[in-house]
């Protein structure tokens, strides 16, 4: 095998850097989730997850040094998920004929033993004690 075909050996600094960044971002996402950001809860968590994914893809999985086709495959798979989500929501979020749930018509046999929030607090009081 000629030297030009030798595989590129990635310097360790990239791997260690990514590792540290991932650990840091994990702590950040957990820390932020302890604070209630209202509507921003989900977008912030997803944003951090996307950043983490990008780190893994670029460095651990080597997309930074890889042929463009690998990135194209990766991006198109993410694009497909976006399509999947967008069009499914185009139906489900815009339905004009969904009526409030009605006894009888909405014949749901829930296995959940439904309790009021207050009762629920009582039942799980002990558990939550143990947790904290």
């Amino acid at each position: 095998m000629s030297d030009s075909q030798k595989h590129f050996v990635v310097p360790t600094k990239y791997y260690i850097g990514t590792f540290v960044a991932l650990l840091f971002l994990t702590i950040v996402t957990v820390a932020i989730s302890r604070v209630d950001l209202g509507v921003l809860n989900v977008p912030v968590a997803l944003f951090i997850a996307f950043v983490k994914m990008t780190f893994v893809l670029l460095f651990f999985m080597g997309l930074k040094w890889d042929k463009p086709m690998s990135s194209i495959l990766m991006v198109s798979s993410l694009f497909c998920i976006a399509i999947f989500l967008y069009f499914t929501f185009a139906d489900i979020a815009f339905r004009g004929d969904v009526f409030p749930e009605e006894e009888g018509v909405h014949n749901i046999k829930s296995p959940v033993q439904v309790v009021s929030p207050a009762e629920y607090e009582m039942m799980f009081h002990q558990d939550t004690d143990k947790k904290h």
Partner: protein, 215 residues
Amino acid sequence: MSASLKEFKKHTHQHHWTDAHQEFEAAKIGMWAFIAQEILFFSGIFVAYAIFRFLYPDMFLEGASHLDWRMGFFNTLVLITSSFTMVMGVRSAQTNQKKATVNYLTVTFVLAGVFMVVKYFEYMAKIHHGLLPAHFFTGVGVSDKLHIFFGIYFVGTGLHGLHVLIGMGLLLWLIIRAKRGEFYEDYFTPVEMVGLYWHLVDIVWIFLFPLLYLI
């Protein structure tokens, strides 16, 4: 083959390739195509999650409160570390460090095992409280659709766990082959491919963790 590579078995490429490099590049494209399909395989769970979270946001908050974020957090750290040891394993194979390769792969394997053990305790706790998919759900909840959260939880983490188990099998296979000295600078395709697979498993968890445990 130079003298320093004595301890390795020389790889011969299959007949239809012109050289091992072409073989390696093809394996990589194939692997990325496979990863693309894996991502879309998991997409179903994420789309189901998004739809039902949109329809019943309170039910998801209630569901998440039943999961112990500390266990999830710990498992995230375990998986990230295992991803790191995996790349170091690939790198060692690439730089002809046989012993380091075996060690890094073994550590990765052990970390995967730790992940599964933690998962086991989490599952046992859920089973204890009857927080299971609908046919087995016996738990108590404020929302009458709480079983859907646990349906998605068990399918998502279950499929992910299955991937971890498959990854452990692959790692074991790699460790054996690495010990035999089959991976060196000219041939480390299987290590690289399993590495890519392992990072994919990591990425899936990077999303499952905040979605299920945190928010």
